[in-house]
Amino acid sequence: MNTVSCPECAAEITLEANAEVGEIIVCPDCGVDLEVISLNPAEVDLAPMEQEDWGE
């Protein structure tokens, strides 16, 4: 079972069996977006930052 710890709130999260590297998941405790960085060993990091910008 792939269990990881949220880098924001330390909540324990179990990855789905079909999780993929690069997948964005949401921490069920604090709601932050996390990116699956590796599967073996299972590792997540904060997902890429979201910005806003004007322009076409």
């Binding site: 690069g22 964005i24 890429p48 930052m49 979201e50 806003e52 910008d53 004007w54 322009g55 076409e56």
Partner: protein, 355 residues
């Protein structure tokens, strides 16, 4: 590496005058080894590499806003100045060079499109919506080489006309012009109420008053407002027009009409959890970048094709969009080269996921 970019920027092509740039790009695609390159029925430049059946469409636009800027490389060969160098010939040239670099891949087809008229009514993008059904869509707009744009707001235009019977100026009754001001304030109040719990500009309704005029004859007074709006995903243009009509019914002394103007465009937000987004993150990192996501308050050809094609999509391209439409438009040649290498890594990852 910069030959495509410099050549494309050197062919000045404001909306409606794209033909020379289109012919140049088609010839360039042929010279770069594309399997086919042609001008389609709308006047778009189209380059095809590979035969499919799976397909990636890379949709840029070849038109620019008007205002020719002398094309030149400045600051020790670091920056290319010229109209469209950022918006959006940089991204389109990047697509063209990237596909040439990756070449044909068995089972896949890459289609690079330089669409016309994006800066006006997106005629080029509207033409292609029923011509392709890609597995993946990458739209070309400047967002910096290390950012992936996931959403563009919708837009809509309306003319609000207020009319009433002529009155004596001493009567103290509300004039059509005064009622038009009230109408605009009501539209703004509706937007402010809708926006109250929203933190991102992407999620807000952003109306702007773009023009106003009024007049009268012996029998009638009238006032007209030109209102533009940038819309969130939550409010499509049809809903917006209905809400405006409902909001403006409160004006009791005047007859109010809302006329829909031009082509309304719904907002679009791309799915973040897609194979394409994963490939983008990986491709940017492969060139030493730290990727981030961006949501835009403007509108792009993404808004035209993505709702129809319903495939994983992103918007990507080198360049600083703060320079869009400015007399100082320029792009870093280093950034351009990085974007080509990053996007090539993206395409390779996409067509061979184990890569």
């Amino acid at each position: 590496m910069s030959e495509t970019l410099i050549g494309l920027v050197s062919n000045y092509s404001p909306s409606g005058q794209e033909r020379g740039a289109v012919e140049w790009l088609v010839a360039r695609m042929k010279a770069l080894g594309y399997d086919d390159a042609l001008i389609d029925g709308a006047g778009n430049a189209v380059g095809v590499m590979g035969s499919g059946p799976r397909q990636v469409v890379l949709l840029g636009h070849i038109d620019t806003v008007p205002g020719e800027i002398p094309v030149r490389v400045e600051r020790d060969n670091i920056s290319l100045y010229g109209r469209g160098s950022v918006d959006a010939k940089g991204p389109l040239a990047c697509f063209t060079d990237t596909v040439a670099q990756v070449g044909a891949v068995e089972g896949w087809q890459f289609v690079v499109i330089g669409a016309v008229e994006e800066e006006r009514d997106s005629d080029g993008a509207r033409f292609i919506v029923d011509k392709y059904r890609p597995d993946f869509l990458i739209v070309g707009e400047p967002n910096r080489w290390d950012r992936v744009a996931l959403g563009y707001k919708g837009s809509a235009w309306a003319e609000i006309t207020v009319k009433r019977e002529q009155t004596h100026t001493a009567s103290g009754e509300q004039t059509a012009a005064e009622a038009a001001v009230e109408a605009w304030l009501a539209v703004k109040a509706f937007a402010e109420a809708f926006n109250a719990d929203k933190t991102r500009a992407f999620d807000k309704i952003l109306p702007t008053l773009r023009g106003m005029e009024s007049g009268q004859d012996g029998f009638e007074q009238w006032a007209r407002l030109k209102v533009g709006v940038r819309l969130p995903v939550e409010m499509n243009p049809g809903q917006w027009y209905l809400e405006m009509e409902k909001t403006l019914q409160v004006l009791e002394t005047c007859k109010v009409s809302v006329e829909r103007v031009g082509y309304p465009v719904p907002a679009w937000s791309c799915e973040k959890n897609s194979q394409l987004v994963r490939a983008m993150l990986s491709g940017i990192r492969s060139q030493g970048g730290t990727p981030s996501f961006v949501y835009k308050t403007g509108t792009a050809d993404l808004n035209i094709v993505a709702p129809i094609w319903q495939c994983p999509a992103v918007v990507y391209g080198p360049g600083d969009s703060a320079l869009d439409h400015t007399p100082n438009e320029h792009i870093s040649l280093d950034e351009y080269a990085k974007a080509v290498d990053a996007l090539a890594a993206v395409l390779r990852k996409l067509v061979t996921p184990s890569a």
